[in-house]
């Protein structure tokens, strides 16, 4: 590949040949409104480089002009707002954004323009705006913080602007499984995947990049005696041909979780303007792997010296990437500042591209190996970089021969390589220091993970191929694969000699963390103030807390701290590594579960029927339940609900109650079992009878209530509240399997099996008479209160009929298999037609239970005892049951507990509201006078006023007392009377009629 400085029309810095771009596919894009052209295969960054753009962004704090530093996900500077409208995304790294036709990017964190950013005055105050300055000021006057200082700081901080409107794209999530997960598709990862794949293991190989190859794409070289890029084609072809290998590009492994689970993000369609129809933008994978191999490469690190943040100061490896992979020239006269041999290899790339090498500045003098004749070499360091917002014009060098200025339009730097070991540390393993490469290397990787290649500190291509292959073969074998892994590919082990150089100690702003504007002197200041722990250093200066998570800056920063404290770097240690390896869109983590799909929806058997009747639905847990059924002309919910209640009280109505939990409790010991879980007796319940039951938690607090029927000697049907169906089932299984394994009981949820309707009102029997087979005796004697049995219905249907009442009326519950739920609703309408039958919803149900003084969710709130609910007498004294012992504790039986009472406003026109508190008449509201609160309210059509239930201290003894309902939230205080909670038919005559 012989490049040349001959450029492509309009792309001032595009080489005339070479690179892995498709010159036949030109793509237009705009940056800050200016239209430019790149090629398929470009990233936004490479296209900007090709177009000679240097100034790309502004830094976080000082708003300093910044260019492109790297060519990968570690990029701290070149962040843009990508796309427009609802798809605008902030902080997108130009170095990883693939170019597509019509791409629109804006620079960010500047005003009014990138070139003239007024916020760059912050730079003038930089003597004051040092690390942690804000902790020392803005304290007075106290009120000014929220009003003035903080808003100003917030506006200046932040980076890009997000769209602020709903993300229009779709996301989903998926699972995948494999024997061996290979992270990274560079030389190491390819070698590993080939070995494991050949051995027959199920392999998934993921690479963040759009293409496999890693640094091979940038650095080329020779493998197995052929050009590395040709070898790469062969390797990809072989992997693609193996049915047990799955290749996933544009896919980043971002997290390592317990037991071999990996968090993985596939950017399915980010390389397109928008996802094609029916496709997602990104997909979250959870990959479950028996073994993993991480060949994530290494990240080149900058050197800290004044001016190192000027646009067109670039990592040496990035210069190679732009030149070799993208045929884009970061500069035409490029100087190098390096302290290791790998940096020197950039010289070849520059020369082959036909550009000029201004000089190589290396504190060591010459490279240890390699032929660099004809290159100007200066033994020394760079102490300043000349230029402006548009980049470099010169570099100042402090060398053996004194200070000199060298003209250059780009400075390539290399301070060495940090193995990309984040994934090995996500289980809180700490890396170890290796002197020979002056870098941290993985130690204590999570179980099942092998680090290999550059990510493990084996930097040479030969070593990458060897260690990758060995890791692949071993992982496959450990995962149980029996095949042969074949031979490792071979390449030379180029020397890697380095002399650590972290910081050029001369005057001037020398940046450690580019994005967050953390300088070497900030690190030193933190040390002086006692923020010596690297974790304190991080939090005090914000070093490493930017979008790049310090991929280029952390190690350098702590080396400077080590120096300031006089400790070794190894002793100084690293900060904690945390997922994600690269930032992940929240949309992808949510996947399909947003908007109406946030949670599943459960429908009752009569749902569609109710919907056809125009029911208004309410969410109860996951269920949609009919709340009321408005009739034409009704404008207010209360109107509808009141009508429904009166229809029941005076005639007959029905309501779908299928949502109640139903549990088949079967087995020889079913009765004994229920005796232990309920506070009252069930073994003694006669077959064909139902009984109300109350169960406690072991701490003596009420857990749930419901009616349980005995259908056969060894068969009970328990009902639970809608909300607690799941938890109660779990609890019962615990009792069965853990507490009393000796009992012969089997449990099965029958909730969804039955469509169950409550039919209530004085005309209930009339309705039923019309529905049931004439042979059924429906008289009070033939079907007494709390009786249960299967009856024949007209038209050939069996139903379970329970004579139970929640409303206080003469009532039954009727159950048929769920598939007949719709038919049942229709037939109830037909059977009840002569009696004015009225379907009612949960609201009317609630009104009637309050009128009747039945407790429900608001009273069963997890802090009330049976006694509090007025149900203490139900507790059997003859048996043990769950919660019995602890329910007797002193504070749970104290006389001043808040217990259920009825509450009615003295002014009959007054609306009572839930959540109002009860204070004694004449009492001044305060913690001492706060005696309880209103739990449930309704407008009672039978009493023709609002009334409610409450939990009030000493409530049972205070019926008749006038107290105050105090509701400051709604600016109301009014007199109410405490009374019996049973407002309607206290003798219970109606339900037994």
């Amino acid at each position: 590949m012989e490049g040349s400085t001959r450029t492509v029309a309009g792309q001032s810095h595009r080489l005339g040949s070479g690179g892995q771009i498709d010159r036949n596919a030109p793509l237009n894009f705009t940056f800050d409104g200016k239209t430019m052209t790149g090629f398929a295969g470009d990233t936004l960054a490479s296209a900007l480089v090709a177009n000679g753009v240097r100034l790309v962004g502004r830094s976080f704090k000082y708003h300093r002009p910044r260019g492109i530093l790297t060519a990968g996900p570690e990029e701290p500077n070149a962040l843009v707002e990508l796309r427009t409208g609802a798809r605008r995304e902030a902080n997108t790294r130009a170095t990883t954004a693939e170019l597509y036709d019509g791409l629109v990017a804006q620079s960010q964190n500047r005003w009014p323009s990138l070139r003239n950013d007024l916020m760059s005055v912050n730079s003038l105050f930089s003597p004051i705006f040092v690390a942690g300055f804000y902790y020392k000021t803005f304290m007075w006057p106290a009120k000014f913080w929220e009003a003035l200082y903080e808003p100003a700081i917030r506006r200046a901080a932040g980076l890009g602007k997000t769209a602020g409107i709903a993300d229009p794209d779709h996301y989903d999530k998926a699972w995948a499984h494999c024997d061996v997960l290979v992270v990274g598709g560079g030389a190491t990862g390819l070698a590993a995947a080939l070995a494991a794949g050949r051995a027959g293991a199920r392999v998934i190989i993921c690479d963040d990049d759009s293409r496999l190859g890693g640094r091979l794409l940038s650095d080329g070289g020779e493998i197995d005696g052929i050009d590395a890029l040709d070898w790469l084609q062969g390797a990809i072809a072989e992997l693609s041909s193996l049915p047990n290998v799955r290749i996933m590009t544009r896919t980043a492994v971002f997290g390592v979780y317990d037991g071999g689970d990996f968090g993985v993000l596939e950017r399915v369609n980010d390389h397109l303007p928008q996802p094609p129809e029916h496709q997602v933008r990104q997909r979250l994978w959870r990959i479950s792997a028996k073994r993993s191999i991480v060949g994530a490469g290494a990240i080149e690190r900058p050197i800290v010296f004044p001016g190192n943040d000027r646009p067109a100061v670039m990592m040496a490896s990035a210069v190679r990437t732009y030149v070799n992979r993208f045929a884009a020239l970061p500069g035409k006269r490029i100087a190098l500042f390096v302290n290791n041999d790998d940096g020197w290899s950039t010289v070849d790339a520059i020369r082959r591209a036909g550009a000029e090498v201004a000089a190589v500045i290396d504190p060591r003098g010459k490279a240890a190996v390699g032929d660099y004749s004809g290159v100007r070499v200066v033994q020394g360091v760079v102490s300043d970089v000349g230029g402006g917002v548009d980049g470099v014009s010169s570099v100042t060098v402090n060398g053996a021969g004194g200070i000199q200025k060298i003209e250059a339009d780009c400075l390539a730097m290399s301070g060495g390589w940090n193995p990309n070991l984040a994934l090995s540390c996500f289980h809180r393993g700490k890396p170890a220091w290796r002197d020979d490469i002056a870098a941290f290397v993985p130690a204590n990787a999570p179980t099942g993970m092998t680090m290999a290649g550059a990510a493990n500190g084996d930097l040479s291509l030969g070593a990458c191929l060897r260690t990758g292959h060995a890791a692949g073969a071993m992982a496959a074998a450990e995962a149980g694969a029996k095949g042969k892994a074949g031979n490792a590919a071979k390449a030379s082990d180029e020397a890697f000699a380095i002399k650590p150089l972290w910081h050029v100690q001369v005057k001037g702003k020398a940046f450690v963390d580019f994005q967050h504007d953390v300088t070497a002197s900030d690190v030193q200041l933190a040390q002086r103030e006692g923020f010596e722990s690297v974790e304190h250093l991080k939090r005090y200066t914000t070093l490493g807390m930017a979008t790049d998570q310090g991929k280029t800056s952390n190690v350098t920063g702590l080396a400077i701290m080590a120096d300031a404290v006089g400790r070794s770097i190894a002793d100084t240690g690293t900060t904690v590594y945390r997922p994600p390896y690269a930032p992940v869109a929240i949309g992808a983590l949510a996947g399909h579960n947003r908007d109406e799909n946030f949670h599943a929806t459960r429908l009752t058997p009569s749902h569609h029927w109710a919907a056809e009747r125009g029911a208004v639905f309410v969410d109860t847990g996951l269920w949609k339940r009919a709340q009321w059924f408005p009739l034409p002309g009704e404008t207010d919910w209360l109107q509808s609900v009141t009508r429904e209640v009166l229809a029941v009280r005076n005639g007959v109505g029905f309501c779908d109650v299928s949502t109640l939990g139903k549990v088949d409790v079967r087995g020889a010991d079913a009765g004994t079992f229920l005796d232990r879980v309920y506070i009252n007796a069930f073994a003694s319940l006669a077959v064909g009878k139902a009984r109300y039951g109350l169960m406690l938690r072991e701490d003596g607090i009420v857990m749930d209530d419901g009616t349980t029927s005995r259908l056969a000697e060894d068969h009970y049907l328990m009902t639970t509240t809608t909300a607690k169906a799941g938890p109660v089932m779990q609890h019962l299984e615990f009792c069965r399997q853990v507490l009393w394994p000796e009992l012969d009981v089997q449990l099965s949820s029958a909730t969804d099996q039955w469509a169950q309707f409550s039919i209530a009102g004085p005309r209930t029997r009339d309705l039923l008479q019309a529905l049931v087979d004439p042979s059924e005796d429906m008289s009070n004697e033939g079907f007494p209160f709390m009786g249960v049995r299967t009856v024949k219905l007209r038209g050939g249907m069996d139903a379970r009929l329970f004579r139970i009442s929640f409303s206080g009326e003469m009532a039954f519950e009727i159950a048929v298999p769920a598939r007949y739920g719709g038919a049942m609703a229709r037939n109830l309408m037909i059977a009840g037609e002569p009696f004015g039958v009225t379907p009612y919803g949960t609201e009317a149900l609630g009104v009637m239970r309050i009128e009747k003084g039945h407790v429900a969710g608001p009273e069963l709130n997890g802090t009330t005892t049976a006694g509090d609910l007025g149900l203490g007498k139900m507790a059997s004294k003859k048996k043990d049951f769950i919660g019995r012992v602890l329910s007797q504790r002193e504070a749970l039986t104290a006389p001043d507990r808040q217990v259920v009472v009825g509450i009615r406003p003295l002014d009959k026109a007054r609306r009572l509201r839930s959540g109002a508190h009860i204070i004694p008449k004449g009492g001044i509201p305060g913690p001492e006078t706060d005696q309880g609160y209103v739990t449930s309210v309704c407008f009672s059509p039978t009493q023709n006023q609002w009334l409610g239930l409450g939990l009030v201290s000493h409530g049972a003894e205070r019926h008749g007392e006038i107290v105050k309902a105090h509701d400051p939230l709604r600016n109301e205080t009014y007199d109410v009377e405490l009374c019996s909670p049973v407002f309607y038919d206290p003798e219970g005559v109606r339900q037994r009629a």
């Binding site: 129809e277 949670h599 079967r666 068969h715 029958a750 969804d752 099996q753 039955w754 598939r819």
Partner: protein, 211 residues
Amino acid sequence: MPDFLWNSQSPLEKAVIAGRHGAGKGTPGVSLSHVGDIALVQVMARRGRNADVAKAAKKLFGTETPAMLKVANGKSATLIWSGPDQFLAFSQQPRSAPSLEQMEEAFAGTASLSNQSDGRCLIRISGPSANDALAKLTSLDLHDSVFPVGAAATTSIDHTAVNFWREADDAGANPAYAMLVFTSFADTLWHLIVDSSLEYGVEVAAIGAGH
């Protein structure tokens, strides 16, 4: 007296829209179907009565109770392992399957039965991309080596428990699966399954049709 009709109704009555949905033309990536009116009984052995249950099952269905994580194909019903010492007896032709009463008699004293014919809803999914669509729904590893024809699992889809098993491959030699989902969740899960399949193109069979 009025006439009472007892039409049965599928929980997917509204959800199933027969025809082709989503991407592409040609062979659909995913085929979906649902049949209603199934017979399904949960059979749970009584304490210490496992062997008797197996015997009774053999007599009634002509097959042993299913091994752990397997399906057993009996004469008139498929027995689907659903947990330790329990299984589901499933039949798509309720009329030719033993009635609940016959089952109660056969298992009297040895197993507790719970009729779930209306508690669960049957959904089938197959096709060249069925595994891709299912990868979005289930955390099970459906690789042939792990989940071959006849494998069964009780697992969760969208936080909801389902009984899931692999049936014989479809006519195109693509994998085919069946699942029983809770009736009240059927509508929501159906939509989720369709959504997950759209990118592959999905053919939805009319209710009752399909395999």
